[in-house]
Structure formats: structure tokens, C-alpha cells
Subunit: 333 residues, 4 copies
């Protein structure tokens, strides 16, 4: 029997990241759960019946886009060569109007191109995005999965028809900080915080198998007011490593936050650590993670109608071999 | 009173493209219909009630992705500087496994970037994509709308929360060519063909206000079997210019095909012409057009269950100022 | 007779940029000087004989590269969508060594791609880079020269065989600030400063017809020591607008500095102004300007040997239609 | 004592590529020749004295650019994700003239960006471009040299001040095919062909230590007349594998041709082989190779003046970590 790590809030040995990561990686590992050939991980928890139920949640038909903008005014600072998108025009209306473009009969057109990191703005992390001790999702050696040609096994194109289902918003920022709605940078959200938010929002906010969990910290609202600052990689509120078991037991399909990095930053160890919760949940649990979502308008709408569940549609672009995808997630209320 | 152009099949004066385009542009122009500030055109036909009804169409919860792949094996040949996407990795699993990446405690990662035209694969044309005699959607001078900084007025980000609603597939290829399911290149689909397909598929395939109409020609299936050939810009089946009125009267929100260019190619004039139906419906009617959709699996599933209507979710990526967007449209059956 | 503007140091009416720019634009305009079809401007001053003389300057054969690096650690901050270069690998040695690449007989390879603004690092400004009241070099309407397809007339490819000649370094930073070798940000270099530097360096530092003049301010050395700060677009030492006549009378072929913007910043007017010396010398004089050159090692070598003239080879990449080019300028001593 | 492979023309065992490659790799290996830390290989053969002598070759001062164009009309077809360059404008003269750009006092500007493989047009192969059985130049394991971050050891930036010296053109196409000046595709140039061309051109065409050897096959002229066809990777004239020893003994610094791939294609083996001469000369000999040079105008000029030697300046762009560089090589006659 596997000894599950404690889940008392923040009960971590801050001096021993190796062990804290390892025990969770082993305890919450889903390798083989969906067969040796699996490419989807916890997205398998969403089945057709779950999607049909999710569609039945729609009441008013109101749609909210959960995407941040894709443009040069984004938060990226160059870390890991991540820039903001560079969007340029190859034809313009100015030319159609003033000088003509060589088309007959008054036809005119504009066209455009983009260069961008796939994780520059609102995104899904693919299963090939993170490794644990050289191993990728489902126990595959990382070098057999992601080469310079891309993710040859779990490329995000395999999830093209997957991420549609029941979404649940937990507005932890509003619950814990009712005055501002914003958790402070460095705040580690615990399993207890998640449970308390559910309790406050009502039983219909409980999350279970196949759900897509959206966690609002409020940091995005703060950066929109104050400027990006260190949004990309700096201090931020986010999930504690100690929530790994909670996420595992709920059998959620995917989880997303309004922050750059999903988990709390700085990470919860004295010694150097880097995104330990990613290391546990992506390659081991097979959990799909969303980052840089805009949950502010959704939070307002959900609070207004008193319901925090909805139909969520957030399929990735099927970029062959990608380890992430820009997305425009849609909530239908 | 405006004299409506004839809509008898292919009743065009092939020698007078100027007039044939102009009369339709004037007859089916929606400028001002949604106010002077409108940025959405016919997408306004989708309202919350329409989306709620669309959600209620979901039966089995089966999801079909309507996207083609985004990779270097796509059809682009360089016309208007449109290349296939170039996707490259900035970190790989090979390195995580064999040489390490400088992260602590066994953490490893892969990251990636992309360069691509926004209309390289499955896409929406934004309202700023096409102009008519120097005028953009809603009667705005093209030069005030799309500059080298992008579409300053009708950028596709404004449609971020719009394109979710009832989708209807008209499998014209299957109806007209029951043996192959594929229309031949150069075949001009008429209003009569659309009506006949609806009649054959049944009354639930009728399209009306706020619907998103998907028209399958079968050309994509042919190119997948035989190679891309001239898929990007060459001869193709597609809508006749004479369908403009049919599209207008149905008050559809958007329309998409499985071809590169939506309308029949070569275009239906003896003299040089270029995408005359685009010229009528985008800047004048305000119709959002989808191209390069993969409708083959959807056609199989719809035929199997005998229903050709479904919940369609196809929001664009909110790329600020873009005149088009790569998309992964999702049908939920 | 044209009234030449005063060239007393900094004798500008800081409240009247329009006039100060206009009188210089008119006084130093070279339109038509090399015929109506000219595409080279002052690069015409370099002829074969000048290049032969320049080659004869070579003594030791020592080569100094005058390029800054091209990488993500550069100074760009996103202004005008100018990012630092993003260089990515499409194949790597790690894969050749550890997993193989599918080539026979032990062959392995690495390949790479880049996305970058053409003026992200060491560069030439092409003649189509700047306009004056809608007019481009040689009196052409700007809209007939540079469209979204690029510079159709004076694209930098036309200078592919031009920029080889005598280079002269004026180390103004060292002359005026012998202790640090660095002018302070905002310092406006005058014609008198240039003359004084020549006098200090010796008669062989005089510049004349067809020479390429390199002016070292020392700002680049400071940023390399202290961090880029606002190197890209912030305060900087540079040429005063009042040097326009000096540059014109010398009949130099081109001029370059070690700063982002060539001329002093903030610009020398109380009211808003933007790069007025560019506006005078590029579209009017036809002068090719280099920016972001690394002149520090060259300055050391020149001082060491007591000669500040050399063979300079700095041809642009012939990117069709470009209004600028990344370069690696070479001085042969 | 190493047994040198035979150099009788085309004396290869076409059935044994492994052996033919290995014996040459071992025989002509320069590992350690310039110390364990070397990053330049045969570029070390160019010293200051050689450059001073090269400069003294200049007679008329005429300059010839040896670059092909960099634009979308290039030969790339997508192999290894190599596309032609995509150059786009971020500002245009059309806007400066017709609608203004928000700058004061009549200032206007145009700016541009590019996305391109570093080996899309005229280029140097860096020393990290090719590996032999997992080993890179100077005996380093390939995985320690080129990662997804680029070439960490022999990145082309280290050659920024190197490639200036004596150039010698051997117009083999003209010598062997005096009527057309063009070798047929698949023609393997032998050491004897090189010697015969030198003899025909005269003693001043002999090549030796530190020279940069330019070999014209004439294929580029043919493709410019007939269309690119399979220029990128198809059949082509080029050097025979049997020239490896000739190249080694001459102690040249670098070599370039007017073809896509430098060596003859198809390669000279019955069994599958891929660029065996690259495999011998880049990682083993440390030879810098140039490809896709335009040698046609240079050939005309050299023939006209009866001299085939000149000052060559072809420094790479110092793109940090690049395994190749776009270049505009310049010959000064």
C-alpha cells in the first residue's frame, strides 16, 4: 500500500524538495491507467455522457471568452525565448483604398502572419511539456516522446476533440479576500481553501470526474490594473504542491488558473525548486494544465447568476507535435 | 426599390463581372443594420437564446474536431506569402533525458514556437479580410480599418465570444455525387443544390437566422487521398456567386466549407475575376467565412445518426487586430 | 541662393522643430543628384577607385567585427513590434548523438531558423526606412516606394555591392571624455565636436567623399557594463540636428554610431519631435545610416596603432524589398 | 601510418559507403590541430598576413556581390522545415503618405521583420551543422555542442571576424563545358577537374593555405533560366567525395559552390547515402562550407580581366549559437 503524503495545509518539508516531489509523483501516478498507448491522460475522464450532461447545464446561452489577448502588449519577457506574439500584415486596407492591389473589379484584401511561442498567452500545456527525471507521461522516456521535431507521441493534436465538458469556477480570490477578490503574490492555495470555496459557492460547485476546474486567484485583475510587472515567472498566488492529492482524487480532466504558472511562486521550498506541482501532475498524473486564462468576467457573471458551473469548450489548435496550444476557451452559461 | 439579381442557377453574365458583383453587393448589403459601430456583421444573428437552443441539440455528447492539421505538410505554396506553419522546439525531451536542462530535482521541460500565416489552415476570415472598391464592412473606408498595425476596427478579437451556436452540415458532395461523395473541381454549387440537399437530408437541416452553415464539397477528402495538388488556390468546387441572395435571406451567422477558397474556382467569369462572392459577402453582407475545414468525419457521423444539426463551438483566437484566425471548430452531437 | 542654416553649436530654435527640420531638409536635399532612377543616394559617392584606395589602407590584416550579438539578450523592448531575435533549432547534436536522426552511415546534422526585426541589432537603415512629409528618397511619394510588399524601389538589395570602402572612426567619446571614454546620455554631438576629434586624432582622420564615418559615443560600452536599460529608444548621446550640413558637405557615403538611434535623444526640441536628423538625412540627403554598431574593440585597436582609417566591408543582406538589414560590418586594419 | 584513400577520379567502392566515408574521415581529420578549445577549424588558416596579402590583390576596386536573393521566390520546398524567407512590413510608406502614422512634424517611417531558416539562401554552414557518428568538430560529442539552445561551442558568432581573405574562383563549369558553362546535374567534380581548371585559368588560380575556394558549376545559371526545379536537394553537379584529400592538402580556409548542397547529387553510392563529403569535411576536417552562392557575375568579371583571385569578405552574422548564417559575400577585384 502506498503511503499517501500528508495533506494538511502546507505540511511540507521545505528542506527536502526531492522527497516531497517523489512521494507525490509516486502516489498520484496514473501510468498505464488508460493503456500503454494512451495520449490523453486525465482528459480520458471526459466521456460523451459527461459532455452531454455539460451541454445540459446551459441556461441563458450567454458566452464568455476566457482568453487573454494575443498581442505585443502581453507579459512575456523573453524567458526560455518566450516573447509576446508578433503579428504583421502582408496586405492592408490602406493599400486597397489608396493605391490598389492589382486585383480586378474593385476586389481588395488584407492578410496577416504571426510568430509566437505556443505558450505566450492563454494556453493548454500539452502532456509533453513537462518531464520527471527524464520520464514523460505514461512512463515513456522523454527522449522517445519530444525531439526537435516535436512531440511524436502525445502531441497536442491528439486532444483536438477532447476538451469540451463541464467547467466549474472556484473563485478562491473572492472567497478568501472578499474585499479585493485578489490573493496576494506568494499565497499557496491549499486543498482546504478549495473545499472552503466550494462550500461557500454551494454544492453545485463541487468538482468530480471529467470536470474542468478553473481557479481564479485574482492576480490577472491586479496586473491589468497595475501593469504586467513580473506576471511571467515572478511571484504569484497559485496552487500549493500539497493539493496534488486533492486534484488526483477528484478525477478532474483538466485544471486552469488566471496566472502564468498555475502553482504558487516562489515555490514552497527553501532550496531551489522549479514548478514541483507541474512535475507531479503532468508527467505522472497526466493532468492537462491551463495557464494565463482570463477568469474575471466569468467570475462576475457566475456570481451574478449564483451558478459556477457551465459548458466549457476549449479545444487546442491541432498543431502537429506541439507541447502546448494557444486557445480561446469559451464558457456557455 | 432594389432590383434583386436573378437567382436562377448560374444565371450570370459571364462577360460582365463588374455588374454582377455590383448588383449583389448593393442588394445584399447590410451596412448600418447593427448600428454604425458594429464589428460583428452577421455574427449578430447569434444571440443568447440561439446558443441556448443550440446547446439543447446535444444528444450523445460525441465531439468531432473540424480542423485540418497545422504543420509543414499543409497545402500552402507561398501565394501572398502564405506558407505552411513552421513549428520549432526550444527545449526537448531528448535533452531532459540524456543531458539535463539545468533544472533542479529532476524537473524537465519542452517548449515550442510557431510562425504561420493566420489563414494557413482551418480558419475564419475576419471582416477586415476583404474589401469592395476600397470599402470595408459597414461602409468604412478600408484605409481607416486595416493598416499595417492590423485591423483597428473589426479585428477578430471582437468575435472572441461570438461563434458558438447551431451548426448545420449540408453534405452537398454526398447528395449530388452519392457514389463518391465528391464534387468535381470547378463545380459551382447553386442555391438549388443547397435546397435540394436540405430536402434530401430532412427538414431539420433547414438553416435560418443565426445558424452556422457548413458545406461539404468532398474536395478535402480527394486531396487527402491524392495529394494536395492545387488545393491552395487552384480549381475547386465551391459556392456560385449566385448563392449570395440565398445566403443573405437565410440570415445565417457564418458559413464554412472544406475548400481553400469557399467559392467555386475558377471563378464564374470569362474575364479575370477574383473571389467575387467574397467581395459581395464579407465587406457588404458582413458574413464571416470559414475555409479549409475538415468536414469528412462529421459527415460520416451525421449520416450515421441521421441528424445534421449540432452544437458548434468555433471561437477565433483573440489575436488583436487580426483579419483571420486559425481555429479548431468543434461539433458536439 | 539657399540660405544655409546656422551651424553654430546647438543653435536651434527649440520651439520650432517644423522650421528647423524644413530648412535643413531643403538645404541638404540631394534629390536628382544621381538621376531620377537612383536607388543608392550617397552610397554613389563610393566608386571603384575609392574602394581600391580603401583596400590599400590595409596594413596588418587584422580584422575587427563591428557587430553586436544577435540573440534574445539584446536591447529590444517591443517598440514598433521590434523584438530581439528568436533563434530556434530544427535538429540538434543531442539527437544525433543519443537517438539518431534517420540518416545513413553515421551522418548527423543540426539546422536552425530565426525570426527577427531587420533592425533588431547591428544594421543599416535602408533609404526606404524614413520619409519626410510623405516623400521618400529622391522625391518619390512614399506610397509608391514602400508598400506592405516591401520597398519596391529602393529595397536594400540594391545596395548589395555598395558598402565597401574607406572607414574612419571618430572616437568622440574618448576625445571629449578622456577619463571614461563615454558621453553622457542626452549629449548632442556638434560639428565642432567632430572637427575637434579629427584634429585630435590627426589629419588622416579627416573624412571626405565616399567615406563611411563611424562615430563612437561610448554608450554601448556603458550598457554592456550596466545592462541595456533604455538603450533601445531611451536617452542617449548622438549627433545634433545641427550636424546635418557638416555631414552633407563632407559627401560621406554612410555614417554609423554605437547607439540605437544615431542622433541625440531626447531630441533637441521642447515640443514633441522624433528623430529629426533621420528625417533630414535619409529621405532628403539619401544618406545610409548604421545603428547599434559595436565600435569598442575597434576604438582600442585604432588607438593602439594610432590610425583611425581602415578598409570597411559592410554589405547588407540582399533581402528583397527590405528597408533595413542586419549586418556584420568588418574593419580590416 | 595512415593509408590514404586513392584519389583516382571516382575510384570509390559504390557498394561500401561506410568504409569510403570512414577512411576519409580518419585520413583527413584535423582534430586537435588548433588545440582542444578550437572553434574555427580551417578558418584558422587565415591569419592577418594572409588578409593583408588578400587586400593587396585589389586592382580596380570593383565589387561583386555573391549573394542570391532572400525572398519568397527562393528554391526551398520545405525539406527539414526549410522555407523561403517570409519578409513582412510593420509600417509602410503608403501609410506615411496617405493616412499618417502619428509622428510629429511630417516624420514617417517603414519597418520590417523576417522569418527564415538560416540556410535558406546564400550561407555558410557552421561547424556545428554536421556530425559524424555522433561526433562534432574537434572530437567533441555532438550532444555537448548543439542542443536546442543552439551551438554552445562552435556557434557561428565565433567566426565573426574570420572570413576575410584571398578568394579564388575556379569556374569548372566554364572549363569543362566551354559552350554552355554549365555542368550537368549528377556530374561529380574530381580533383583532376579542379587541377585542370587551375591549369587552364593560370598559375594565379592555384589555391593554398588560407584561401577561400569558390567553385562554379553553372547550375545556378541554369535554374535562373529554367526555374528552380529541384535545386533544393535534387540532382546537381558538385564535388566528388574523392576530392576530400585534395581539399585537405590545399589547407584552404573555406570552400563554396553555386549549388544547394556543395557535393554531387545523387551521392556517389548505390546504397542510400547522404552528403558523405559533408560528413568528412565539416566535423572531421573542420572545413567551413558555403552553399547557394551566386558566382555568375563574378565569373564574367574574372574572365573579362583574366584574373580569378580577389579580396573576399564574407563574415557571418554573429547569431549566437547558430549552425549557419545567411551572408552577402563580397569580392573586391
Amino acid at each position: 500500500m502506498i503511503e499517501l503524503p500528508s495533506e494538511r495545509p502546507l505540511d511540507l518539508d521545505r528542506a527536502d524538495p526531492e522527497r516531497e516531489i517523489r512521494v507525490r509523483a509516486e502516489a498520484f501516478r496514473n501510468w498505464g491507467r488508460w493503456g500503454d498507448d494512451d495520449r490523453l491522460g486525465t482528459l480520458n475522464f471526459i466521456d460523451d455522457a459527461a459532455r452531454a450532461r455539460a451541454a445540459s447545464l446551459v441556461r441563458t446561452g450567454e458566452v464568455v471568452s476566457l482568453a487573454q489577448s494575443f498581442d505585443t502588449d502581453g507579459p512575456q519577457r523573453g524567458w526560455r525565448r518566450r516573447t509576446n506574439p508578433v503579428h504583421t500584415m502582408t496586405d492592408t486596407g490602406v493599400e486597397a483604398q489608396y493605391i490598389g492591389q492589382g486585383f480586378p473589379h474593385g476586389f481588395g484584401g488584407a492578410d496577416d502572419v504571426i510568430s509566437m511561442p505556443l505558450q505566450c498567452s492563454t494556453q493548454w500545456d500539452g502532456l509533453g511539456h513537462i518531464f520527471d527525471h527524464g520520464m514523460a507521461w505514461n512512463g515513456r522516456p522523454a527522449g522517445e516522446v519530444v525531439t526537435s521535431e516535436g512531440d511524436l507521441v502525445t502531441g497536442i493534436e491528439h486532444a483536438a476533440a477532447s476538451v469540451v465538458g463541464r467547467g466549474v469556477l472556484l473563485d478562491v480570490g473572492r472567497h478568501l479576500r472578499p474585499d479585493t477578490g485578489e490573493l496576494e503574490d506568494g499565497y499557496a492555495i491549499t486543498a482546504g481553501d478549495l473545499d472552503a470555496t466550494i462550500e461557500a459557492q454551494g454544492a453545485r460547485s463541487a468538482v468530480g470526474r471529467g470536470d474542468v476546474l478553473l481557479i481564479r486567484t485574482g492576480q490577472y485583475a491586479r496586473t491589468r490594473r497595475n501593469g504586467w510587472g513580473e506576471y511571467a515567472g515572478g511571484a504569484a498566488p497559485g496552487l500549493s504542491l500539497t493539493t496534488a492529492g486533492w486534484l488526483h482524487r477528484r478525477e478532474i480532466a483538466a485544471v486552469a488558473t488566471d496566472t502564468w504558472g498555475f502553482e504558487v511562486r516562489p515555490n514552497e521550498f527553501d532550496a531551489a525548486a522549479f514548478q514541483p506541482l507541474h512535475q507531479v501532475v503532468i508527467p505522472n498524473m497526466g493532468l492537462t494544465i491551463g495557464e494565463m486564462w482570463n477568469l474575471d468576467e466569468l467570475a462576475v457573471r457566475c456570481a451574478h447568476v449564483g451558478r459556477f458551473e457551465f459548458l466549457l469548450s476549449a479545444p487546442p489548435l491541432p498543431i502537429t507535435g506541439a507541447v502546448g496550444s494557444p486557445i480561446n476557451p469559451i464558457a456557455v452559461l
